[in-house]
Amino acid sequence: MTTATVGTIAAAPAAVNYRDFAKRAVIAGFVTLVLASLLVGIETVSTVNGLQVATRYRAVLCASLGVAIVYFLVEMLKAGRTLVPLLVGLAMIALFGVLEWAKLEGLPLGDQLPFNSWVVNWGVMLVPLSLVLRSLYLTFWAGGQGAVAAVGQRETGFTRFYLRYNKLFGALLILFAVGLPFMPFADRRLVDVATLVLTYIMLGWGLNIVVGLAGLLDLGYVAFYAVGAYSYSMFAVDAGLGFWAALPIAGALAASFGLILGFPVLRLRGDYLAIVTLGFGEMIRIILTNWWWFTGGPNGINNVPRPTFFGLVFERSAPPGKETFAQFFGLTYSPIQRVEFLYFVILVFALITNFFTLRIRRLPISRAWEALREDETACRALGINPRNTKLTAFGLGAMFAGFAGSFFAARQGFVSPESFVFLESAVILAIVVLGGLGTQIGIVLAALVLIGLPEFFRELQDYRMLAFGIGMVLIMIWRPGGLLAHRDPTIFLHHGKGKT
């Protein structure tokens, strides 16, 4: 089916310019064809005789045709015509279903599936599915034909709902988090994933102080995470310090790193700051990799001890002079006790970070951060010292990253520079921004979506990061203000900000 036939089947009311749609759809399809022609259409295969090429042109054709058709349908949806997109979307899904079925039955038709990988096939099917859902939504819930897709920064029903029941929602969430390990469906894997998600929530909340409140774009946040992780590991392995004794030192070290790095660069504006912090993040990683006699080089540090519960260890048998958790409380030993304990440790850490942020927002220093974020020149005029104010935000953010880093090292049992690549910084920043800058619950939501969901699709390993990238772009396009687009009311003198 080509796009032209779709255009003629639809009985066109005069208001909608199908010819224009078709033209643009053909262009979109053609662009896809060009884009895919070499990179998708030709595969480079390494053989003993050097690189060989293999073609896979069916994928290119299917992709171009699909893009053209979907583009046309989306334009129709935007114009408020829902029937044709619904039918064509269903037809595409049905066609796919038949092909999948044929493949399952071993029929020759089954070889005609557009892509070689079933993950991509199923993933691509999400597009017609969302078309169908969208047209159903527009037909039955949004008042039928006339309702045109609303785009933009409107506060959606969800945001409004959240704002009204803000406190209740937060309390319920905390209750749920506390009760999670005791739920019947909670197995070790779930608690593990929850621990990971909480680590990122804590990092997100920490970075939120820097990016959300103070408006300083930090692309090297992972550096402080690394400082925390390495300082705990070194204190523990080389000096024999316990987790709880080393924790404040690690936090203080990370914070002072933040101050030292921040001091020279914080007078830079926006994007420059971003790139310098990115540079610092990479520098710390390179130093950790190459300074092998101090940091263990690429192998990192092994055998980092786990945290204890008031001196009670979580092992099968206690080292001399110590008692295990299970012995003390008269329980039978099970490895899940340690997993659950770690979960509660990070839960408490994260909640402390959250509580700290919520309280500090009532203090003058946080007001100063927000004022600086909105207009630095005005702040200077009002006698706020921009550098010191920014430094506190930077240092505090770094401190929480340091705590989270110590926890990370203690949980993993080893640290290596591999864990502190730029991608981590990008992920944390994405959590903060996608969650909606400055909102605490938005960060929880974003961390669940970005970290929690992919963990359950580990089978799709190879496609995880691809989906992650697509997700980041799509969420930004649909909701540029983040999932929970809302900022606490700040006093504005005038809206149109000057050149930033």
Binding site: V34, L38, L51, V53, N290, I470, P480, G498
Partner: protein, 304 residues
């Protein structure tokens, strides 16, 4: 002396490549004020498409090197430009007029997307490329240390100079360049005066991507191997170069690229290879602290 001369030659070659990528950053930053984080990956796409084009030409039986080079260059530049255009159209244009952070996040997402796209389609392994332009000549010899200039290095520098000259003409003498400069100064005013701002911005991305594709092809020929991850570091260094030269300034980008290339190569030659990336970043920090507008940049007046 001989080592210095050899490193100087290598540094200029590397610097030319960085300079070509840096132009893409500096133009985009100048015109819409965003760091196009995916630009490094556009360069990587250019290198990959050049590689595939070479292989296809080999299959088709076109083995006369000059012809193959020209065809590859044209194909890689054309296709990569379309990528540049698409990235802008899909990921940045819907966010124009949004917060300053939104396009940056979108760009980071785009960069992750493109890297994984290529990794999934072409595999994560290094892709080797047979050497096409071997040979060179010996410039001098000192205590048994030969200073060699490869033909390829001369080629890279010449192509860069030609492109730079053409590009400067484009910016200063053509209607497109005038539209670009107008959009850079005041987007709203330019659109009121009949400049098609969206088209101008799109073309900026296209030109940036085309230059990045040339750089990608040069790297492919120069190092003889590429992988899907080359865009990240090269992108950061090129951005460093753009900042060093003064962001928004085109000669600055080229100059900054040369400087970064030289520093990196000299550092590897005289100190340690392990820390060559640290050297580039140190320079960036130093420049930003002591001369935030870059070496050739204009001071940016802050309006109240």
């Amino acid at each position: 002396m001989a080592l210095f001369l050899q490193q100087l030659i290598n540094g200029i070659t590397l610097g030319s490549i960085y300079g070509l990528i840096a132009i893409g950053y500096t133009m985009v930053y100048g015109i819409i004020g965003m760091i196009n984080f995916a630009h490094g990956d556009i360069y990587m796409l250019g290198a990959f498409q050049a590689l595939i084009a070479f292989l296809v030409l080999g299959v088709l039986g076109i083995t006369w090197v000059p012809l193959a080079l020209v065809i590859t260059l044209v194909v890689a530049v054309a296709l990569t430009s379309v990528y540049g255009w698409t990235v802008e159209r899909v990921a940045y244009r819907p966010l124009r007029g949004s917060t300053r952070l939104a396009p940056l996040i979108s760009a980071i997402g785009m960069s992750i997307l493109l890297e994984n796209y290529v990794q999934l389609l072409q595999g994560a392994r290094n892709k080797p490329m047979p050497s096409l332009l071997g040979g060179g000549f010996r410039l001098m010899s000192e205590n048994g240390f030969n200073v060699e200039v490869r033909w390829l290095q001369i080629g890279i520098v010449v192509v860069t100079v030609v492109l730079m000259a053409g590009f400067t003409l484009l910016i200063t003498r053509t209607p497109l360049g005038r539209a670009q400069r107008a959009t850079e100064q005041d987007r709203r005013m330019a659109s009121l005066l009949g400049v098609n701002v969206d088209r101008t911005i799109s073309l900026t991305f296209v030109i940036g991507a085309a230059l990045a594709a040339v750089a990608g092809m040069m790297v492919l020929l120069y190092y003889g191997q590429i992988d899907f991850y080359i865009g990240f570091l090269a992108g950061i260094k090129a951005f460093t170069a753009a900042v060093l030269g003064g962001i928004g300034s085109l000669p600055g980008a080229m100059f900054g690229g040369l400087l970064i290339g030289l520093v990196e190569v000299m550092w590897s030659g005289y100190f340690s290879v392990d820390y060559k990336d640290v050297a580039a970043f140190t320079i960036l920090v130093m420049v930003l602290i002591f001369r935030p507008t870059g070496l050739l940049g204009r001071p940016d007046l802050e309006k109240v």
